[in-house]
C-alpha cells in the first residue's frame, strides 16, 4: 500500500460512488452535481496516469463546458417529471442484468490477459510530450486527417446545435 495506491483507491471509489449517484439519484440537478464530481475524479485519475495536459483539458472541456451544458439542460427542462415518481423505466432490471453481465464478462476476459496486472509504466514522470502531440496532429503522415475531420465535426455540431435549439420565429416551426 503505497500512498499512490491509497490515493488511487480513494479517488476511484469516490468517482465510482458518485457515478452510481449520477445514474440513481432522483433529482436531476443533483445528478448533474454528482456528474461533475465524477468528472473531477476522472481528471485526477488522468493526473495519476501522468497526463497533465488531459487533466486540465478534462476540467476545461467536461467541467467547464459539458457539465454546464447539462446543468443548463436540467434547468431548462425543470418540472417535466415530478421528482418522486420512479426515475427508472420498466425494463431497468434487464438493463441492470445486462450491464452486470457485461462487467463480469469483460473482467473475466481481461483476467486471461497476461500483462493485465503489469505495474511498470512506459511513460516517464515528465508526463506526455505536448510538442510531439502537436506535431502529430499537423503531420500529414501522422494524424492530420483525423484532426481536420474532428475539427469539421465540431464546427458541424456547433452550427447544428444552434440551429436545432434556436427558437423558431413566428410560433412553433
Amino acid at each position: 500500500m503505497t500512498p499512490m495506491q491509497i490515493v488511487f483507491l480513494l479517488v476511484a471509489s469516490v468517482t465510482l460512488a458518485s457515478a452510481v449517484m449520477v445514474v440513481s439519484t432522483r433529482r436531476m440537478f443533483h445528478a448533474a452535481l454528482w456528474l461533475i464530481l465524477t468528472l473531477l475524479g476522472v481528471a485526477i485519475l488522468f493526473a495519476l496516469l501522468e497526463s497533465r495536459f488531459f487533466t486540465i483539458v478534462q476540467v476545461v472541456v467536461y467541467v467547464g463546458a459539458i457539465a454546464i451544458l447539462v446543468l443548463f439542460a436540467v434547468m431548462l427542462t425543470r418540472h417535466v417529471m415530478s421528482e418522486d415518481q420512479p426515475q427508472l423505466n420498466r425494463s431497468w432490471w434487464i438493463a441492470s442484468l445486462a450491464t452486470i453481465g457485461l462487467f463480469t464478462g469483460m473482467v473475466l476476459v481481461m483476467r486471461t490477459w497476461p500483462i493485465f496486472t503489469t505495474t511498470q509504466r512506459a511513460v516517464g514522470p515528465g508526463g506526455e510530450d505536448l510538442q510531439k502531440l502537436g506535431f502529430a496532429f499537423v503531420d500529414p503522415s501522422g494524424f492530420m486527417i483525423p484532426f481536420e475531420i474532428v475539427s469539421v465535426l465540431l464546427l458541424a455540431a456547433l452550427i447544428g446545435a444552434v440551429f436545432i435549439a434556436a427558437e423558431r420565429k413566428g410560433g412553433k416551426g
Binding site: M4, E50, W92, A95, T99, M110, T118, E128, A136
Partner: protein, 104 residues
C-alpha cells in the same frame, strides 16, 4: 514509486462504463441518458490513457484518440442537449419513452 497495476485502471474504467451504460439503458429522463453517455465516454478515455501510459507511451496514437473522444463527446453533448431542448419545446417532455413516434 508508482506501484498501481494497470488492472486497477482497466477495472475502474469497465465499472464506470457499465454504470454509464446502466444510466443510458434505465433512466427515463433524456438528460440523464446523456449524462450516462458522458460517463461511458469518460470510461473510454480512462481506458485509452491507461493503455497509453502503461504500454504505448512512445507513440502518440493514444493521446490522439483521447483528443478525438473529447471532441466527439463535446459535439455529442451539444447536439444531444439541443435536440432534447427542442423536443421539450415541441412535445413538452423529456422522457425518452414518450418519444416513440417511430413506433412500428
Amino acid at each position: 514509486m508508482n506501484s498501481i497495476p494497470m488492472s486497477w485502471y482497466l477495472v475502474f474504467s469497465i465499472g464506470l462504463f457499465c454504470i454509464g451504460l446502466f444510466g443510458v439503458l434505465a433512466r427515463k429522463n433524456a438528460v440523464a441518458i446523456i449524462m450516462g453517455l458522458e460517463l461511458m465516454l469518460n470510461a473510454v478515455n480512462v481506458n485509452l490513457l491507461a493503455f497509453w501510459s502503461y504500454l504505448y507511451a512512445d507513440g502518440m496514437s493514444g493521446l490522439v484518440f483521447v483528443t478525438i473522444v473529447f471532441a466527439v463527446a463535446a459535439a455529442e453533448s451539444a447536439v444531444g442537449l439541443a435536440l432534447i431542448i427542442s423536443a421539450y419545446r415541441r412535445r413538452n417532455t423529456v422522457i425518452a419513452e414518450d418519444m416513440n413516434v417511430l413506433k412500428g
